[in-house]
């Protein structure tokens, strides 16, 4: 046991060490791409009619007149002191903006989307595998392929149109209804904060606003889970240990749930690790469609306004999250599958 813990520690350590050059490369890319791309933060901030002298003064204040390499080195030095700088447009601290306001919103959306994706994908994939080549299987497979191929924003618009506009069951955007004050900041996740402070009506309102975005992103991601679960279960259902379990007279329900399903989950958890990036990318489009003020919304807005520091900060945070989550998934996998040891 002690040995196992020790090797896990060295595994985590090596993951962290590997993350540093990865982050450095990402920072470099984003830094130069933002500056190569056309557009100017000062023009975006002051509008096209601002006096030239005023623009120049602001440019100097923001350090944008320095040579590019100097700006790059200054930024790197800043990041290494764990300071993401302040927004070019609002002057707010990038780190505060991200971690207090925007990241918790995205985290909330991705958690609920994952619940929807797994809640839909796993049972459907299971049914499709057990009913292989029967009607149910064909319908589920078709659903999985079509839903995965849909553009997120189009699907989002359609749900907004149907449930928001025609039926009026769900709100079409935002995190809370107008007039409802956000719960006091604890985690930044409105659902959790409102529950922690015992404010049920705010909790329900937050949940109500989360419904359409989560269903949009969750359903689209469920296509991947349907296919992975189905394929893996088809394999495990034909495996030797499943046949051996049947030969032992094990109940068919247990054969499916205990042997075939659990073994099929092992690769699914790995795939979830790879889907994390897709999930956050999907969240960008979903948040934009639903004007849900999360990281994706912030990123799109900052790119449009050429807020260099905010874009850089957001991308760094995204990278760290994805590295972190895939590491966590690896560790979960080691616990599910006794054969995996780090």
């Amino acid at each position: 046991m002690a040995e196992r813990k020790g090797s896990l520690r060295s595994y985590i350590l090596s993951r962290i060490i590997l993350a540093i050059p990865m982050l450095l490369i990402i920072i470099t890319f984003v830094f130069f791409i933002m500056r190569v791309a056309p557009g100017d933060p000062v023009a975006a901030m002051l509008g096209p009619h601002a006096p030239l002298a005023y623009k120049e003064k602001l440019r100097e204040e923001l350090g944008l007149t320095l040579p590019l390499y100097q700006q790059y080195l200054n930024y790197l030095a800043q990041v290494f002191t764990l300071n993401l700088g302040s927004s070019l447009t609002t002057g707010d601290s990038v780190a505060t903006d991200i971690f207090v306001y925007y990241f918790p919103a995205t985290l909330e959306l991705t958690i609920f989307s994952t619940i929807v994706a797994l809640g839909v994908g796993i049972p459907l994939g299971k049914i499709a595998a057990v009913k292989r080549d029967k009607k149910a299987d064909v319908v589920i497979r078709l659903f999985g392929i079509i839903i995965y191929a849909l553009p997120i924003y189009w699907f989002g618009f359609m749900l907004q149109l149907l449930f928001g506009y025609y039926l009026g069951i769900f709100p079409t955007g935002g995190r809370l209804s107008p007039g409802i004050t956000p719960p006091p900041h604890i985690t930044g996740l409105y659902t959790i904060d409102s529950l922690l402070t015992g404010n049920i009506s705010t909790f329900l309102d937050a949940l109500w606003h989360l419904a359409l975005p989560s269903i949009t992103l969750g359903l689209i991601l469920s296509g991947v889970f349907i296919r992975t679960i189905r394929v893996n279960m088809l394999n495990t259902l034909q495996s030797d240990y499943v046949q051996a379990a049947r030969a032992r007279g094990v109940d068919e329900k247990e054969v499916i749930n205990r042997h075939a399903y659990r073994n099929a989950l092992v690769p699914v958890v790995t795939i979830m690790g790879m889907e994390i990036a897709l999930l956050f990318a999907g969240a960008v489009l979903t948040e934009t469609t639903y004007s849900f003020k999360g990281m994706g919304y912030l990123l799109v807005w900052s790119i449009q306004n050429r807020d260099y520091t905010m874009v850089q900060g957001a991308v760094i945070v995204y990278s760290i999250i994805i590295i972190l989550f895939s590491g966590i998934i690896d560790i979960i996998n080691a616990y599910i599958d006794p054969r995996i040891r780090y």
């Binding site: 034909q238 495996s239 030797d240 240990y241 046949q243 051996a244 379990a245 049947r246 030969a247 032992r248 007279g249 094990v250 109940d251 068919e252 247990e254 205990r258 042997h259 659990r262 073994n263 092992v266 599910i336 599958d337 006794p338 054969r339």
Partner: protein, 334 residues
Amino acid sequence: MSLLSVRNLRIYYSSSRGIVKAVDGVTFDIEREETLGIVGESGCGKSTLAMGLLDILPPSANISGEIILDGENILEKEKEYLRKIRHEKVALIFQDPMTRLDPLMKIKDHFLETFRSHKRDVKEEEALRIAGNLMNSVGLSPEVLDYYPHELSGGMRQRAMIALALVFNPQLLIADEPTTSLDVIVEAQILQLMNKIKKEFHMSIILITHNLGIVAEMADRVAVMYAGKIVEIGSLADIFTRPLHPYTRGLLGSVITLESRELVTMPGEPPDLINPPKGCRFAPRCPYAIEMCMNSEPSLQEAVKGHSVACFRALELMEERDILYRGDIAEKAD
């Protein structure tokens, strides 16, 4: 009454190329506390027969005939009855113990699950106590129950599989190539163990193998399978010293001994089970085939008391028994 009587068992697989007649009209009996060896080449339907006896075939298989266990034709029974029979009366151990245990479950969980499926009223401690005793009797420490399959060697896994098979003291143990994936020393240990538990638990064993040496060591009676059919069945001595079917002779001739100067093989290939030859299935490879063999199919008939063979010329060939078996097929090949 025999423990198990198989009558005219047919197992056909439907495939995209046509119907594969993997087991085609197999009939045999097995008595209590007897070991029946079933031998044949790869692909002759031995393993399909093993699965068929427990009715755990894939959905593409179609089974017909009679499997009479303790006087009841189990193929006529409902699913739940069949499920109970599996493991309680007939247990199966497999060729590759490496892949037959669920990699995510400890050995003890395999036992507990088996108890849950058959005898709900047995408490967990009681089940673990029984499992521990069984582990002892197959030569494993009860501590192994806490191991995962990947932590065990091949031989240990097969021992664990055998212990698992003994849980409900079955009357019949079907062993499908139980030692094929093990090295010779472990093989000998496992065979010894099987002989020991057979006596201890008063079981009958159907031993399916391609290894004639194992059959010689273990079996009381031997059935020889070729292309989905039993071509010869008799006592161990009958089959090994007085084989009647040319295929059996060929098999025995292919055994490598210290005196073998060269490898003796049978010419030709086993037939395609989708379109088997019209007459005797062995006729195209048989050195003694006559025209009749190509046109009509011989049935399994008792030639001598307790020794049946499916060959038109068996009695004729019995006379020429002095012929040196080894090489009589090789001669034809030259």
